[in-house]
């Protein structure tokens, strides 16, 4: 449910940037949502679609999401490896979908992946 407040802060940031760059219209917004950010992408998109209509510059903006693959780190041998990038968000698993490829240990933890970043704006 906090996705709505995050979508709100995204819109606020976009509007400030549009003003700064004297743009009349935002065409596309690219956002990176890390696999362990705790953000439900569907809810986030829903919030964005609802809120963008409130302001003229964002009314027709499209939202592009980049969802990087989850990365894990083996607690046994220290090897880092990439998990499957499941398109079935919300919940990307905190448990690796396979044992450590180097030593076979099941004891793996997540590495990074909590980012939530406004990457790029296309405007005119």
């Amino acid at each position: 449910m906090h996705e709505l407040s995050l979508a709100r802060s995204l819109i606020d940031q976009i509007l400030a940037l549009a003003q700064e760059h004297q743009a009349k219209k935002i065409i596309n917004v690219t956002v990176i949502i890390g696999p362990f950010s705790g953000i439900v992408t569907d809810s986030f998109c829903f919030g964005f679609e609802a809120l963008k209509r409130e302001q003229k510059p964002t009314r027709e903006a499209a939202l592009t999401l980049e969802t990087p693959s989850p990365e894990y780190c083996c607690l046994q041998c220290g090897k880092t490896f990439t998990g499957r990038n499941s398109q079935t968000m919300p919940s990307r698993s905190f448990s690796a979908d396979r044992p450590c490829p180097a030593c076979g240990s099941e004891h793996c933890t997540t590495r990074g992946g909590d980012e939530l970043i406004l990457k790029q704006l296309e405007m005119e």
Binding site: M1, H2, S5, L6, S9, L10, D12, Q13, L17, H21, A23, I27, V31, F36, S37, G38, I39, L75, F94, S95, H107, T109, T110, D114, E115, L116, I117, L118, K119, Q120, L121, E122, M123, E124
Partner: protein, 240 residues
Amino acid sequence: MCNTCGCQLTDTSDTRIVEVNKNLLEANNRQGEANRNHIERMGAVAINLISSPGAGKTSLLEHTIDALGTEMRIGVIEGDIETERDADRIRAKGVAAVQLTTGGACHLDAPLVHKGLHALEDQANSNRETAGGKKYDLIFIENVGNLVCPATFYLGEHKRVILVSVPEGSDKPAKYPTTFHGADLFVITKTDLLDYFDFSLDEADREARRIQPGLEIMHLSATTGDGFQSWLDWLRRLVA
């Protein structure tokens, strides 16, 4: 100007790409940093207390105030969707408390806590003993009861403490990993009820440490006092 021929006409199809690369939570995080400075100016360290509704956050605070109220100055910011009930419980213990009601929002954010800190400082200023100099030693920010959303919002706290009570079940760390990912301390509460519920301390500890290896964990019952001493010692070390 038109880029193709320099004809002085305004190019109407002037689309630009701006690389931003800013954290979406930047505004919240900036306010969080300001809160942290404010907390430190008051002489305090702050704890963000996160759990589901009914895990015993307020009860833990009541018992903590009973035990530490004479050795340190404690202030409490209570987050709830509605009512002053929790703040009233804390005030009954003779400690400064501010109630923040979110009016529906499922978490506290840094701008709201900013208001709470000012209200807490006003209370210290109106008290002759704390009017000058150090206002508080320890500030608890009791978040809205929710094991999901509060995890995303930095409030300016020095430490983040997650509570899970025995009746909730030992699967909570596995089911709500994001929250445990950012924790500094995990406290399992109501351990006096272990005999009556199918709760495995081993499972809870193991799952929490799988998400965050090295996470500090405590088991306690505020009712019987079991394990309570390590919690108090942890707080004393934090304030010292």
